[in-house]
């Protein structure tokens, strides 16, 4: 059975890109949220295996959303997806319990490696 991914990103382009990259793999996009608020509201209904989370979003940003989800669902596997790839952001993401970080733009190999690592608990 395919592992279920929830994509959280205000950009529909990102959802389309992730969906296309995951075609023919062990993963599928189970749900797409355009905001952090939406992700918080549906997380327990969707029950994804792993979440990909953008950082720069209107309203709650990705770090705030990831923190809120992890406070309520500590078992959640969240991979941050952003171009803000530097120590300060890595440290913030790690501190709140994110399981990985993907630097935009990314390819299929990078995406799958990060998802696999998050589920393996690396």
């Amino acid at each position: 059975m395919a592992k279920r991914v929830m994509v959280v990103d205000d950009s529909r382009v990102q959802e389309v890109q992730v969906r296309k990259l995951l075609e023919g793999t062990d993963y599928e996009v189970a749900h797409y949220c355009r905001s952090g608020e939406d992700a918080l509201a549906v997380y327990d209904v969707v029950k994804p295996d792993v979440v990909t989370m953008d950082i720069i979003m209107p309203g709650m940003d990705g770090l705030e959303t990831a923190q809120a989800i992890l406070e309520e669902y500590p078992e959640a596997k969240i991979v941050m997806v952003s171009s803000l790839a530097y120590d300060d952001t890595f440290d913030e993401a790690k501190a709140i319990g994110a399981k990985g970080f993907i630097d935009k733009p990314f390819d299929k190999e990078k995406l799958l490696a990060a998802l696999d690592a998050a589920l393996a608990g690396d």
Binding site: I56, S83, L84, K104, P105
Partner: protein
């Protein structure tokens, strides 16, 4: 973006990141050009905060943004909404790389606003253009990256 970074170094850094990110995001090679975008252009804009008090825009011919959207979405047919979404995502990625570069230079963790998209030429209120870098995307397409500083800083000679 900040008085701690000399303008020449800032220009060079921005130029390199624009070309690298455009190639990586959409496979489009931008080269330095002389001609500004034409009448049918779009603008994407972000404001920087947390340590940096300037803003950036990219203005480009609609045809270039259309090609960018086609490449990012891997679709031949794109709508106006697709073009807007792809342009905003492209600039979001571009500004993230710029913020990362600024962090490496200054150890200041800049953040930036969600990109806004505008049909035509857009100039943010209370800001003035400090410098513009022009590009050609081939196929008679042009783009320009614009670095804006607050009007109050320009009156002070660009210092904060």
């Amino acid at each position: 973006m900040d008085k701690a970074i000399p303008e020449k170094k800032l220009r060079e850094g921005l130029d390199r990141i624009v070309r690298e990110v455009t190639e990586a995001s959409a496979g489009i090679e931008l080269i330095r050009g002389e001609t500004p975008p034409g009448e049918h252009m779009c603008t994407v804009h972000v404001g920087f905060c947390r340590g940096f008090h300037s803003s950036l825009s990219i203005r480009a011919d609609t045809a270039l943004f259309t090609r960018l959207a086609q490449s990012m979405l891997k679709e031949e047919q794109v709508t106006a909404q697709d073009l807007e979404d792809a342009a905003k995502e492209y600039f979001n990625v571009l500004c993230g790389h710029i913020a990362a570069e600024l962090y490496r230079s200054t150890r200041v963790a800049a953040r930036f606003s969600v990109p806004t998209f505008h049909w035509g030429r857009y100039c943010p209120e209370d800001y003035t253009e400090q410098f513009v870098i022009c590009y050609s995307g081939g196929r008679n397409e042009a783009a320009e990256l614009v670095h804006h500083i607050p009007v109050s800083r320009e009156k002070d000679g660009g210092a904060e």
